[in-house]
């Protein structure tokens, strides 16, 4: 591979792939070039497979890879970077500024105002109150729920630990008091499914911010549901909430769309939940239950979710309002399969939700 021609072509291809959204770093590109070298530039098939095993790292990459490969080696220029969905401005339209304009506004708020804000319905907040709410959200301190682990840890009492006992005997040269061990606890997985459809518009921004705060403190998977399912765990990994929210807004193509909860829930269970994400997890669904799809499907999927998960908590902002009755078709069919129905329309109820999750 001393000849510059093919090498430039290969690296250029990798570059086009990167622009299309496949995260192939220098190490992968190096592996790709080495793989082509091992196989020889015999034909497009070989280059195709060399690139597919060396440059891709997850199933989502494969479709992009195929597209870029066809474009690049078919002689056509690479397509521009793929940007799915809406711009950050869509999120701003949801009620929260994406860039931190609200940050500079220093709000001198008396304690009583904080109390009022804590209880106020998020949908009825003014822009200044929203900015303040964001700051209050950031100081929530979520505590993860725990479960018993398979792993045992040394303990003062409990079953006898033969390994440590023998080891102590060995060190002492004579039998000593037996050592003990016990099962330890580990954080339990938490899954948040946030409805971002039109009817949830006033709450989606606050709920995603809430998800971001939670994600920084415990192992959690976050998905948005609307007409489709989008995983935003990766996007919410940004430390800065504004950056995280902007990344999530770019990733979610169905902001303010309709709701097909049943289908989105099924996509979650098939693609993630059944494989392990929902098993023994605490699953929190934030949705008002306005279902445009088939309620029977939603009920079936909610039942599946209940069988997989440790606890299913349903958060419906409308529960907090006076005179609420769970009559929407969606909520009515899921209620039998839900452990708790919670409000989550204000900061206070979100804090309550956190307590509930921590106890689950």
């Amino acid at each position: 591979m001393t000849d510059a021609g093919p090498l430039t072509g290969l690296v250029g291809f990798a570059d086009a792939l990167r622009r299309a959204g496949v995260a192939c770093g220098a190490e992968r590109v190096g592996a790709f070039v080495a793989a082509v070298e091992v196989l020889g530039v015999g034909g497009p098939d070989r280059v195709y497979w060399a690139g597919r095993v060396a440059l891709c790292a997850e199933p989502d990459d494969l479709a992009r890879y195929d597209a870029v490969f066809a474009a690049w080696f078919g002689g056509r220029p690479a397509p521009p970077a793929v940007r799915r969905g809406v711009s950050a401005s869509a999120l701003a339209a949801l009620g929260g500024e994406v860039a931190g304009t609200g940050r500079s506004q220093v709000l001198a708020v008396a304690a009583s105002d904080v109390e009022v804000l804590r209880r106020k319905d998020i949908a009825s907040l003014s822009a200044a109150e929203r900015a303040h709410l964001r700051e209050l959200l950031a100081v929530l301190r979520p505590v993860p729920p725990v479960r018993r682990s398979r792993r045992r840890r040394p303990a003062r009492r409990g079953e006898v630990d033969p390994r440590r006992t023998f080891r102590a005997w060995l060190a002492a040269g004579e039998p000593v008091r037996p050592k003990h061990r016990r099962r330890s606890v580990r954080p339990r997985k938490v899954v948040l499914l946030v409805d971002v459809s039109g009817s949830m518009k006033p709450y989606a921004d606050a709920l995603l911010r809430f998800a971001h705060v939670v994600a920084r403190r415990m192992p959690v998977e976050v998905f948005t549901v609307g007409t489709r399912l989008t995983r935003v765990t990766r996007e919410l990994r940004w430390r800065d909430p504004e950056q995280a929210l902007a990344a999530a807004a770019r990733a979610v193509p169905d902001f303010e769309g309709g709701t097909r909860l049943g289908e989105a829930l099924r996509a979650f269970l098939d693609g993630w939940g059944r494989r392990g994400a929902a098993r023994r997890a605490v699953v929190v669904v934030c949705s008002d239950g306005w279902e445009r799809g088939d309620p029977a499907l939603l009920g079936e999927q909610a039942a599946r979710l209940r069988r997989l998960a440790h606890r299913v908590l349903w958060v419906n902002p409308h529960v907090g309002r006076g005179g609420y009755a769970p009559v929407q078709s969606g909520i009515a069919v899921v209620l039998p399969h839900v452990d708790r129905l919670l409000a989550g329309h204000s900061l206070e109820t979100l804090a309550l939700l956190l307590e509930e999750v921590g106890r689950a």
């Binding site: 793989a35 070989r46 497979w49 033969p162 023998f166 060995l170 040269g173 059944r274 599946r304």
Partner: protein, 292 residues
Amino acid sequence: MTPDDLAARLDHVGYLPDQGVATAAFLAWRMRRPLLCEGEPGTGKTSLALALARALELPLIRLQCHEGIDAAQALYDWDFPRQLLHLRALEAAGPVDVERAEASLYTRRFLLARPLLRALEEAPCVLLVDEVDRADDEFEAFLLEVLGEHAVTIPELGVVRAETPPLVVLTSNRTRELHDALKRRCLYHWLEHPDLAREIAIVRRRLPGVGERLAEQVASTVRRLRTLDLIKPPGVAETLDWAEALLTLGMTTLDPPAAAATLGAVLKYREDVRRALSAGVLDVPPGSTIGG
């Protein structure tokens, strides 16, 4: 050796790879990089490693990952009870020189080699790290170290290094996302369900007693089941189970009563069985031509 040669060898030991699998395995072997296999359950991730070991005539060492797996289960452990017995035996034989007694305790014969250490010691070999997504993510970092260096340091003994690195196959069911650092070290292959002709060939290869017609009918029916919206679409393993079940009953063709009686070999959920029956997949026996 070329990918085609490797494909032929895999074919010879009863694993029928497509071009992608053969090329991925070939590259992993020649580039000495671990191969990370993902794919739907039942697409032959684990059996690829088993077949590679047989095709390359190398021993297979398997590390089954589970939650809470740690170095003592994956790498090595000291055999404390035996060390204790040894010490007792030394004492019984007469006065003991403490230094020498201790040195004699931390020798290779009191070391229990777990799969990773065995793979380094017995290399060249095929190391299968099965369902790596079930292990905790701390374990991944530890695995990375062993896979990257092909060596491990045992404080009491020294470094164990593999002369020829083992051919490592990792499988994952994507129950959680693997760490990027681990993925970066690996070649990646996504396994698909085989196409119809290949699946028929697999059935006939694995179960020589199954006739052409039955194999075709079973494979094409399973294919149609996969297109239904099932909770657990059947994999190749289920196709084989089903064909074997029918073979055991002495069937030579797939008729609806026999299919209904043996459906438990393919579909493991009541909802799926109901859906398959209502979609009429089993009512009309599929035609005897390929693609029917």
